[in-house]
Symmetry: C2
Amino acid sequence: MSTLTQEKLAQAVELVQASDADVWLTFVRETAATTDPVLPLIHEGGFTWHCALLVARDGRKVAIVGNYDADPLEQSGDWHQVLTYVQGIRETLLSALEELIHSEVERPRIAVNFSESDPLADGLTHGMLRTLSGYLAGSRFQDSLCSAEGIVMSLRGRKSPTELARIRAAVAETGRLFECVQREVRIGHSELEVYQLLQAEIDRCGMGYAWDRSLCPIVNTGPDSAEGHSQPSADLRIAPGHLFHIDLGVTLDGYSSDLQRCWYVPQPGETAPPEVLLRALAAVNGAISAAAAALRPGVPGWEVDRAAREYIIAAGYPEYLHAVGHQVGRIAHDGGGVLAPRWERYGRTPELPVEADQVYTLELGVEVKGCGYLSLEEMVRVTESGVEWLSQRQLELPLLG
Amino acid sequence: MSTLTQEKLAQAVELVQASDADVWLTFVRETAATTDPVLPLIHEGGFTWHCALLVARDGRKVAIVGNYDADPLEQSGDWHQVLTYVQGIRETLLSALEELIHSEVERPRIAVNFSESDPLADGLTHGMLRTLSGYLAGSRFQDSLCSAEGIVMSLRGRKSPTELARIRAAVAETGRLFECVQREVRIGHSELEVYQLLQAEIDRCGMGYAWDRSLCPIVNTGPDSAEGHSQPSADLRIAPGHLFHIDLGVTLDGYSSDLQRCWYVPQPGETAPPEVLLRALAAVNGAISAAAAALRPGVPGWEVDRAAREYIIAAGYPEYLHAVGHQVGRIAHDGGGVLAPRWERYGRTPELPVEADQVYTLELGVEVKGCGYLSLEEMVRVTESGVEWLSQRQLELPLLG
């Protein structure tokens, strides 16, 4: 029995009890191809054939899998029952639902993993939803499917002790990688060379990437580099007068970091960054502090974003074109509530109230004309009354080269 | 421009033209969390915000992405247009569809990636389908969404020259790993030790796993080992009289192998496997040959399975409880048509006609009482008239230990 799945399944039972669902159903197949992002929280490993993982209001946990998939579930010790089938899952699934949802329940509700707002609570594919609807047609569960968005968002968001320990370890390793940049990166290196240097070190240590490997880390040097999720350039080379910026997230034991750091590459004779950069640094840090001050349980995410957005505008800079923070967990963008403005692309995620033990980034940047992109990203855990900083804040602008 | 995405997008245009769709739309977001398995065929890398990749009947290819995601798409050179948005994708998507689908088309059809039968053609989540339906509501595309199953199945199935070369390389590396087993594995090693030995070698070479790492390779020694997708045991150790069996798939440059091999561990004094094992080996190989003889373009998969199933039953063995073959590509179970019996869990995939340039496994096994699980798995490419063997067939049962 893994401590992690044990902790998360205990949370899941509580969340189902606090919801209006009778059963929470995770329905997957061929997970090597299309996995539900919630799966690794409740089971270590994958499945080939249709698999139904059920958590009921009364705490019973039942797994239904194809005949060759049963062994890891049984070994885990996490499930009260592991049922198997050979030709098809339909009948076994229907009788398990009959068993788990008392026949006197008038309007049974089966929560499944779809969500328009939260990609991480949206693991059920449309084809699988259709299959499931077909199975339930004509049974008393015909109209029972509903969204498990609330259950999955909280399950993913509220980090358990094991999850927090792993995130702390990923943050520490990222700090070590930034030290490696400070030590080894020099004037004349291209963005691509720094990217390759960091990837080589990440691979050597057996770590993974908190987002798509081809875009991790993001490396920007100087004013001509493309801001955003861009690929490192082989032509842009670190030169005096540049702002040098890295956005990096690593994964260790399945949990991630996501941090941004900046350096200044001095001109001959310079011993400190120019005033214009120090002003930008102070503005960015002030906005991050404003967001942190607004961040506590119960507050909707957009209020936290607004605090930072108003700060940076008042400081005379243009507003950033993204959210001031997102949750971090198994991956960098870990879903659930976002500290975002109420823009269409964020759906209803900016409205969600912050919960204790969620982990967020706080991040924003400004373009400094002629120098480059000054952007910082820190990580915090939400406590009962505020935040705990998981990263060591960058309050100064070190020299590089 | 990558040769691979170039080859696959050229195929995609042909497949859209041969379908009844006006546009094929791949609609994804936060692909680090929930990616559509078709995405790596048409773009290298991932996306953060809602992204729409459109291939039209007339061959135009248009990508719509959030402002920070545009750079890799533009760099790729694969898309005629890369459109960006800041707050939400809806308007840009609707006007691109207006542009791509002539206003005189009476019943416009937009094919999207859902499928009940094929997990690899089922990358659209239910939440994303709902979002998309919401965008189209009230427009002339309101009832236009249909399944892209046929397009995606053929796109994935018909291996391009670059894809075939990568699969051949993965098969060759797997052969090298089996040689490593022959050379290094000895009596007394546990299943877990062999699994760790192979994983260390796979990791050292920078290869990936063709299915879930925790279950790859599958290692079975002797009659007490759990057949199927089971975890290796630390207690079961290789001993004289055992059948020793490995099911292994590696991924190299994004393409996979999936092969099974068996060995016999001789008793003191034995210089060849006992007769009962040689009979089982011949039956298994005869069934694989029967499947290969039935496999050619146009034949439905179930007929291929039936050829092997009838052979093994006629040889006096129980039938295997799985399909005799599946396609292999980016992952071991690569979707599309399956060489399977017409069981519920296979949906309509056994009915699909085999196409040239698909790559299949041919695999089955029998339990040999007191010895273990004798199961083989080969890989073939479908040619215009039959098959080309991609793996070197295992026709003998080598001794191990």
